[in-house]
């Protein structure tokens, strides 16, 4: 019996020839990640171990991105806990404001996560790095603490579902639409405990930015990880970034999948996920009655350069609807700078948008754009749970950057070809 990429990565890091789905294995980790919300909890647990060093100063990454620049005193204390820890233990990859970005945009950009890696992060969207052909999964703070101390974690080897995308990609369709469509198809627990492997002719032509968007939302289907085999597009992306060797794995032809699902993308429309679950999907043409108060473009799902490029192309020379608040959040300082140099930021500001420093901000209802009771937002983020962006009686609709930009212009959910 062959193995999937996910099995191969776990087997290698467990020091085994073969691992089977369902098996419990103890693995060595390449990267352990935490942020300003989860790391302080992990640090408190780490302290209980009473040890005076971490397993590897180069393999821990700490990113203050959720409530930073610090939104209040308590958040400032949490950031300080993490900063002090980073200094005390000599953590090499601690990113202060100014070099900080949203973690899942930042780590790939900095070449800190590479194909074949085994990565845990105390953040559920750690699965984003699967786009590079790595096995990356979200864990809690206690796992992070244990990981920082021992460099190891236990895993249950997941079963895999293969998703094959074929057909001609219509104009305006993006990775976001493919993943929303998939979640709508299998449901928010359709891949619970499982590995989601994205393949097919559409994926092999998809840009890295779009691949990150897809792997990012594997967790929204309950997946343990999302994974895309590394290829030339991946190599181009990591060439200038990688500072250490990496391994490219392919799934064996006789690898075991619990299910294979195929999607013809040629007739797909941009997808909207209605409140309050990412599985409540509708084609954009069924959603155009929904009027909005706020539009958010950014986050670890869609805060990359290509996302801003599409949004800017639609907003160029246009104005944001007078009843809409449009917030744009570049994912990292580098993305911000690139967008600035290419004139996107000017386009956004001239259109009447607010452009923010990289932060998670409104994505999790943290700060910088919270919704009042009864308000509706369309966001390029990944979750539309009750209260996710503010008041429990507010609503979040999820969509691609193209739909978001078009909707900001019209003041209601709008297909990109309408503007």
């Amino acid at each position: 019996m062959g193995m999937t990429i996910s099995q191969k990565i776990l087997a290698f890091h467990a020091g085994k020839e073969f691992v089977a789905p369902g098996e419990l294995v103890n693995c060595k980790l390449d990267v352990v990640l935490g942020n300003d919300v989860t790391a302080p909890v992990a640090i408190a647990e780490f302290d209980k171990l009473g040890i005076n060093q971490v397993f590897d100063q180069e393999k821990i990454v700490l990113v203050p991105d959720h409530f930073t620049p610090n939104k209040d005193i308590k958040s400032a204390e949490q950031s300080k806990t993490m900063r002090d820890f980073a200094r005390k233990f000599g953590i090499k990859h601690y990113f202060e404001i100014g070099s900080m970005g949203i973690e899942h945009c930042l780590l790939p950009e900095q070449g800190l996560v590479l194909p074949g890696d085994l990565i845990i992060g105390a953040d559920s969207h750690t699965c984003t790095y699967g786009a590079l052909g790595a096995f990356a999964t979200g864990v809690g703070s206690t796992d992070m603490a244990a990981g920082m101390a021992t460099g190891e974690a236990w895993f249950r080897v997941p079963e895999s579902i293969k998703f094959i995308y074929y057909g001609e990609m219509p104009r305006w369709l993006s990775g976001k639409d493919l993943i929303l469509h998939t979640i709508g198809d299998i449901g928010v627990d359709g891949a619970r405990y499982m590995s989601m492997e994205f393949t097919g002719e559409v994926i092999s032509k998809l840009s890295m930015d779009n691949r990150f968007t897809m792997a990012n939302m594997a967790i929204e289907a309950g997946g343990k990880n999302g994974i895309i085999a590394a290829d030339d597009i991946t190599r181009d992306y990591i060439e200038q970034r990688a500072k250490r060797p990496y391994t490219i794995y392919q799934s064996d032809p006789d690898a075991d999948y619990v299910e294979i699902r195929e999607y013809d993308v040629s007739k797909m429309e941009p997808v909207i996920a209605f409140p309050h679950l990412p599985e409540n999907t509708h084609p954009v043409s069924e959603a155009t009655e929904v009027s909005l108060d706020q539009v958010v473009i950014g986050s670890c799902t869609n805060g990359r350069l290509e996302d801003l490029e599409i949004a800017a192309s639609l907003l160029k020379g246009k104005k944001v609807h007078p009843e809409i608040r449009l917030l744009v959040f570049p994912g990292t300082q580098q993305i911000y700078l690139d967008a600035l140099r290419r004139g996107y930021i000017e386009t956004f500001i001239e259109a009447g948008a607010v452009v923010s420093t990289p932060t998670c901000g409104p994505c999790l209802g943290g700060h910088m754009g919270i919704l009042a009771k009864g308000e509706k937002a369309l966001a390029t983020t990944n979750r539309n749970f009750v209260g996710r962006m503010g008041h429990p009686e507010s609503e979040v609709y999820l969509a691609s950057p193209a739909v978001a930009a078009a909707s900001a212009i019209k003041g209601r959910i709008t297909a990109p070809w309408e503007v």
Binding site: T38, D123, G140, R192, G222, L364, F385
Partner: protein, 161 residues
């Protein structure tokens, strides 16, 4: 481990944003978090919940973010055990790692109502409804996880190693 307590019943896909909204994540003090536990699903829950109570929920409990604040808030509210049709995987892992007893039990979910008294036996993997006398069999934990829980969570487990 055995618990007896009053049931608070919830539906499917109770996510971690509902268990503890991000607006309260600027602390991880269990008592502070408990004040807002599940308030977006049931605004009265934080005031009516009592020590030793039990949560019964449908599928995919704890989906969403990896915040360990979710099991911390539930434990802080005094909940003795969560029984669900299924758990989202990060929550499942976090519950074991932090020592919040959980049980996956398909048959119990439909038969148990809010307000019922139930008795949970974690070792046997059994749930008994004291109102009806019915007993439901649950899936027991793999021995590896039982070992972690028996040590009182992952940190103690590692300490012993």
């Amino acid at each position: 481990m055995k618990f007896t307590g009053k049931v608070h019943k919830f539906g499917a896909d109770i996510d971690t944003d509902v268990i503890i909204p991000a607006r309260y994540l600027n602390t991880f003090d269990p008592a502070e978090l408990a004040k807002h536990c599940l308030e977006d699903a049931d605004p009265e829950f934080p005031t009516k919940v009592q020590a030793g109570d039990i949560i019964v929920a449908d599928k995919n409990f704890g989906c969403g973010s990896s915040r360990e604040h979710a099991p911390i808030a539930i434990k802080g509210a005094g909940i003795a055990c969560v029984i669900a049709r299924s758990f989202a995987r990060i929550f499942y892992r976090n519950a074991i790692n932090t020592g919040l007893p959980i049980l996956e039990c398909d048959t119990a979910i439909d038969a148990i109502n809010s307000g019922d008294e139930v008795e949970v036996d974690l070792d046997l993997g059994q749930v008994r409804n004291l109102r009806t006398g019915e007993v439901y069999e649950a899936t027991p934990f793999p021995s590896f996880m039982q070992e972690i829980m028996a040590k009182g969570g992952l940190i103690n487990y590692i300490k012993d190693k």
